[in-house]
């Protein structure tokens, strides 16, 4: 499959930014496959020393995919908001596909399959987080944004404060509250 072109993605990003929700649905599969292939390519390059952490590698791939230079962003906040949201969707999507595959039961000749004893237990956690985040967003979008930055965007408290133009104390307070609320929700 061909790698999606940055312009195609940029075009959809712009449409989405201007309020076209359908653009996001077109965008996601492109980002998903694009990231997959880019990540694989990085992986091949990296695998001898294998230093780059997978999440960081994905961020890098995302930057490459979207082509930072091709788009005029209103502000940094918007860029990071989109990037974090994309990463969240990609990973949740992956976890969901994975779970769907597992729940299909054992496949006929899946003899190399040694379904993970470790990750299997973890993926629902990510899905539960996603669900809790959706509830949080409807109640308090800023707090949801802070959580996405932290978990999926790789931003520090300082960076988040800067991007959102609020004080670090506010980010800390919001984070602490959101964290307590989310984890309680996830246990329900």
């Amino acid at each position: 499959m061909l790698q999606p072109s940055p312009t195609q993605i940029t075009h959809l990003l712009v449409k989405w930014r201007s309020g076209d929700q359908a653009a996001l649905d077109q965008l996601m599969p492109l980002v998903y496959d694009g990231l997959h292939q880019l990540a694989d390519r990085y992986m091949r390059r990296e695998r001898r020393d294998h230093t780059l952490q997978a999440t960081a590698l994905l961020h890098e791939a995302y930057l490459r995919l979207v082509g930072l230079e091709n788009i005029q962003w209103q502000d940094r906040a918007h860029f990071f908001a989109v990037a974090s949201r994309m990463m969240r969707r990609v990973l949740v999507d992956h976890a969901r596909r994975r779970r769907a595959r597992q729940s299909e039961g054992r496949l006929p000749t899946l003899s190399l399959d040694d379904v993970a004893t470790l990750s299997q237990a973890q993926e629902p956690e990510l899905l539960a987080l996603d669900d809790a985040l959706k509830s949080l967003e409807s109640l308090d979008p800023r707090k949801c944004q802070i959580v996405e930055f932290k978990f999926f965007g790789g931003l520090t408290t300082e960076e988040s404060a800067e991007v959102l133009r609020v004080s670090q104390t506010t980010v800390e307070r919001d984070w602490r509250w959101a964290r307590a609320w989310l984890f309680r929700e996830m246990k329900k």
């Binding site: 880019l38 994905l58 006929p108 190399l112 399959d113 990750s119 973890q122 956690e125 609320w181």
Partner: protein, 982 residues
């Protein structure tokens, strides 16, 4: 909501500013009566207390998913080709890579193949180098149950792939579950798996990754093993595994099937495959895996696999839930008719108890050296189990063999062998006890050590927690959470300490149990020693001790010396009872079996396989003693119990069917007996194979029944079959062979072939005397039969002493009331009658008839035997009027009991005809004699004694009637047959 939301948030932050101790007061005041608000804030505070830890876990989960996402990039869904293969569809994905259905794009070769693509991270240079090296070896594995490795290579972007024969099938565990295969079928299927693995081992290929997902069964029931040697290619040495382990976590390993040496990263050998197969068999038989992993950390997995002892399969089925809920027929049984209502885990447990437990546990021993030496040996042991032979997987070998020995030698063993078997059985109980004691002791000691370690750990953790609490107390302004953590730690430490204490208590219990077992062993060995004290010359007063004395002494002391050990007592009584029985000492055997039955009912409950065994034992002795009615009800009770516990098809059930049929046969209910014999025969052939000694027993019994019914044509091949198998399987000196020889001889006798019959009787008698000694009921029966043969030949002087010896032996062993005594007395009476000693014959005839009438059911053919013989005697004696009603009754019984045209009915007709002729009722006598003669001539031939007697009666009839002309042709026939060479 929004306002409420703000309020919650505000209270949350304000409470966080306070000490945990002050929060309650604050919330009381702030929330007032609003319980809902307060609950909301409180739950968030609790959540916040644990959030630090959980945040880390969520971060880890996100990283893991990201890693996976990146790794799977190499398997992205857009792939259309791999090497020269066109991909048809993706069949699945796993930790190692993806599996595709494909076909060659460049050739007319249309066959579909399975292609395994190894994902990025697994494609090290070593893997590729090894692959090239091993590929040829793997491609050469040519076995009908191994999926062929067809090809392999690397994709354009450098990923290795394997091309294999595409198999459409179900993993073996699912196959067994969906088809609800019986234990027997599962074992057979498993042996096929073994044969494939064994073949690969002979070709120096170890699978290393055997598990249900790698063992498929096609719709036609053909087993196919996948991925032979692939695991080795992927991580040959521990170093390679470590490398991949960082990339893919622990996903490459399937811990459930991994051997201890594998989780330790040591060399894997054929013994590792034996282990994995053992786990597989465990799962196929129980629906559970031997180990439960509480945590999924590599250390925990390693600990469980290398240290924990798995429960026995028979225990596992009643304790743990099955692997997959609802999919496993826990109640799977030895046949397809298992829906009959007795489907309990308990029953499955009983099927697994013993051999199968031992076989599985031997295969999954921790130490590779102590497992089966090869997959072939493993498979062979299962075969032996299926054939009812002793298996090698057994710690207490001695006891086990004794059990099988006594079972095999039930029919009768010689005095020496009987005592030997008794000694072996006693030794075995001892051996089993001491082995168990050693195990219990080891376990108790180990548990004590673990408990001690845990206590120490718990104590130091508690100390740490207390220290931490002090630190946090001193730094009151420091993070409040510290205090919470300290509290939690303290609680955890207290919990651990409590656990350690209960662990220690358990260890104490186990130690106590070990002490009890030791006490049992001491008592048994004292008991055994006591038995042999008589062999001390001073005590035995110079007399040679006999086996009988040892037995008597032992039997008398079981109750006293083994007090408080009811299970051991019952086992000893069972063994001794059977030894007495095999010695023909039924009066001594019966109370032992009776007592064993009571003990087993008390200790094991009303329904148990051992209770059924005792019922059978007791019934058999009672049958031999002649108490048919009680025996029948006991047999039926045992049979019903076994069917319920073991299912409708089981070797024990077949044995009970056979026993019950013998009883029905003895009681003269031939029709019911024949049906049961045939059922038992079919079951034994199916379960044990056609050439099994127990099959011969039923062949013999059925043959004997058919002989008694007069169906010689059907009976003879059964006996001959049985003899051929017995000579092959048992050698030439086994009492079971002697019994069949005896019966074949009786058949030949019944057919009138005295010449062929005699050597068979003699061979049987030789074996009996050698193995059983002279005083044994079977010897008496043989003597009777040989005497009868002599009588038939007219050798009355030769017959009489044999009958007298048989009679004396029987009376001595079985008293005056045994129905068989009637046969011997009647035969002796007949001989004396033939010799002309009417005075001696008369009372014997009468006593025989009287005994048979009392002991046998109405209409029993043996009663007819007495009636016809005595009737003839009375006619000869000159009192035909007394004879007539007896003869009519006898004829009637035979007509009913035997099929039309039977020679014995003809014989009764002939004797009655003679009687009527003596009463001068010639017109009544004539048709009887004519019909009788025709039948006898056809069935027995001209030269037969009874045929000739009938001819003589016909001639006398016509002479007395004054119709000499009618007598003439018969006279000619008589002269002709007399002069023909014998």
């Amino acid at each position: 909501m929004a306002e409420h939301w703000k309020q919650i948030e505000e209270l949350f932050h304000r409470a966080l500013q306070l000490e945990p101790g002050e929060r309650q007061v604050f919330l009381d005041e702030a929330c007032g009566a609003d319980r809902k608000l307060r609950a909301e804030v409180e739950s968030l505070l609790v959540s916040d207390g644990q959030a630090e830890q959980e945040e880390k876990e969520v971060q880890r989960a996100i990283h893991r998913v990201a890693e996976e996402f990146v790794e799977e990039g190499s398997l992205s869904e857009g792939r259309r080709r791999i090497g020269p293969y066109e991909l048809v569809e993706e069949l699945g994905r796993g930790g190692m890579g993806a599996v595709y259905l494909g076909q060659r794009a460049d050739e007319s070769y249309q066959k579909q193949v399975a292609i395994k693509l190894i994902k990025r991270g697994m494609d090290t240079d070593e893997v590729l180098a090894r692959f090239r090296h091993e590929r040829q070896i793997l491609a050469n594995l040519d076995h009908p149950n191994i999926a062929r490795l067809l090809d392999g290579g690397t994709t354009e972007d450098g990923l290795p792939y394997f091309v294999m024969e595409h198999i459409e099938g179900q993993p073996i565990d699912q196959y067994c579950a969906t088809r609800e295969l019986s234990i027997f079928e599962r074992l057979k299927l498993f042996r096929t798996v073994c044969s494939a693995v064994s073949y690969a081992h002979q070709n120096l290929v170890v699978h290393r990754d055997l598990k249900p997902g790698n063992i498929l069964v096609t719709a036609d029931g053909v087993v196919k093993l996948l991925d032979f040697g692939i695991a080795k290619l992927l991580h040959a040495e521990p170093g390679a595994l470590t490398l991949t382990a960082t990339a893919i976590g622990l996903r490459a390993m399937t811990p459930e099937y991994a051997s201890p040496e594998q989780v330790r990263g040591e060399t894997m050998t054929t013994a590792s495959d034996v282990y994995s197969l053992g786990v597989l068999l465990y799962e196929l038989l129980t629906g559970r895996r031997p180990y439960q992993f509480k945590g999924s950390t590599p250390l925990e997995i390693e600990r469980v696999i290398t240290v924990e002892e798995p429960p026995k399969p028979s225990t596992a089925v009643s304790r743990q839930p099955p692997v997959v809920n609802g999919r496993w027929p826990v109640e799977a049984d030895d046949n397809r008719r298992w829906r009959d209502g007795h489907r309990t885990a308990k029953k499955l447990s009983r099927q697994l108890e013993g051999d199968l437990d031992n076989i599985v546990l031997m295969a999954i021993r921790k130490d590779p050296q102590r497992r089966y030496a090869s997959v072939e040996q493993f498979s062979e042991d299962i075969r032996r189990h299926l054939a009812g032979r002793p298996v090698i997987a057994r710690t207490d070998t001695l006891g086990y063999r004794a059990g099988k020995f006594v079972k095999r030698h039930r029919v009768g063993v010689g005095m020496a062998a009987a005592v030997l078997s008794l000694m072996i059985a006693i030794g075995a109980i001892l051996a089993a006890q001491s082995a168990r004691i050693a195990r219990e002791r080891d376990r108790a000691v180990a548990a004590e050590q673990v408990a001690a370690q845990q206590r120490t750990a718990a104590e130091s953790e508690r100390d740490r927690a207390i220290a931490a609490e002090r630190v946090s107390e001193r730094a009151r302004d420091a993070e409040r959470t510290q205090h919470n953590i300290a509290e939690a730690n303290l609680a955890r430490a207290q919990e651990a300490e409590r656990q350690a204490t209960s662990e220690a208590a358990r260890a104490n219990n186990e130690a106590a149990r070990a002490r009890t077992e030791a006490e049992t062993a001491r008592r048994v060995s004292e008991f055994l020693a006591g038995l042999f004290e008589v062999s001390d010359p001073s005590r035995a007063k110079g007399n040679t001790i006999t086996a009988r004395e040892i037995l008597d002494k032992g039997a008398a002391r079981i109750t006293k010396d083994l007090k408080g050990q009811p299970k051991v007592q019952a086992t000893m009584m069972d063994t001794m009872g059977r030894v007495y029985e095999s010695l023909g000492l039924y009066d001594s055997a019966a109370p032992l079996h009776d007592e064993a039955l009571k003990l087993r009912r008390q200790t094991l409950g009303a329904e148990h396989v051992e209770v059924a065994r005792s019922l059978n034992n007791l019934a058999e002795v009672l049958r031999r003693k002649g108490d048919h009615e009680t025996a029948e009800s006991l047999y039926r009770e045992a049979l019903a119990m076994q069917r319920k516990l073991l299912g409708p098809e089981h070797a024990d059930v077949a044995e009970s069917l056979d026993n019950l049929a013998i009883l029905l046969d003895t009681r003269g209910d031939y029709k019911a007996a024949e049906q049961l014999f045939r059922e038992a025969l079919e079951m034994r052939r199916k379960l044990l194979g056609r050439e099994h000694a127990e099959v011969c027993e039923t062949l013999n019994n059925l043959g004997e029944l058919l002989r008694k019914k007069g169906d010689y044509e059907a009976a003879e091949p059964l006996f001959r079959d049985a003899i051929a198998i017995q000579r092959k399987q048992l050698g030439s000196e086994d009492p079971r062979l002697a019994i069949t020889l005896d019966n074949l001889a009786s058949l030949l006798y019944s057919k009138g072939d005295y010449v062929a019959a005699e050597p068979l009787y003699r061979e049987a008698l030789g074996i009996f005397r050698k193995v059983l000694g002279n005083e044994h009921p079977d010897v008496a029966i043989n003597l009777n039969n040989l005497a009868t043969l002599r009588y038939a030949k007219g050798d009355y002087d030769g017959a009489e002493p044999l009958y007298r010896e048989a009679l004396a032996t029987y009376r001595k062993l079985l008293g005056e009331e045994h129905p068989n005594l009637g046969n011997i007395m009647h035969n002796l009476a007949r001989t004396l009658h033939a010799k002309g000693d009417y005075a001696a014959a008369d009372p014997l005839y009468r006593r025989a008839l009287d005994l048979r009438r009392r002991k046998l059911r109405e209409g029993h053919p043996d009663i007819a035997h007495s009636l016809v013989g005595f009737g003839l005697f009375l006619t000869d004696k000159g009192t035909p009027l007394d004879a007539e009603p007896l003869l009519r009754e006898g004829l009637e019984i035979r007509r009913k009991a035997f099929s039309a045209g039977d020679w014995r009915t003809a014989e009764a007709q002939s004797v009655l005809g003679g009687c009527l002729a003596a009463l001068k009722r010639y017109d009544e006598a004539e048709p009887l004699l004519v019909e009788s003669y025709a039948t006898l001539k056809a069935k027995r031939g001209d030269r037969d004694r009874t045929t000739q007697q009938t001819l003589k009666r016909l001639i006398s009839l016509y002479e007395a009637w004054g119709k000499s002309e009618k007598a003439a042709p018969y006279r000619a026939l008589l002269a002709q047959s007399d002069s023909s060479p014998k």
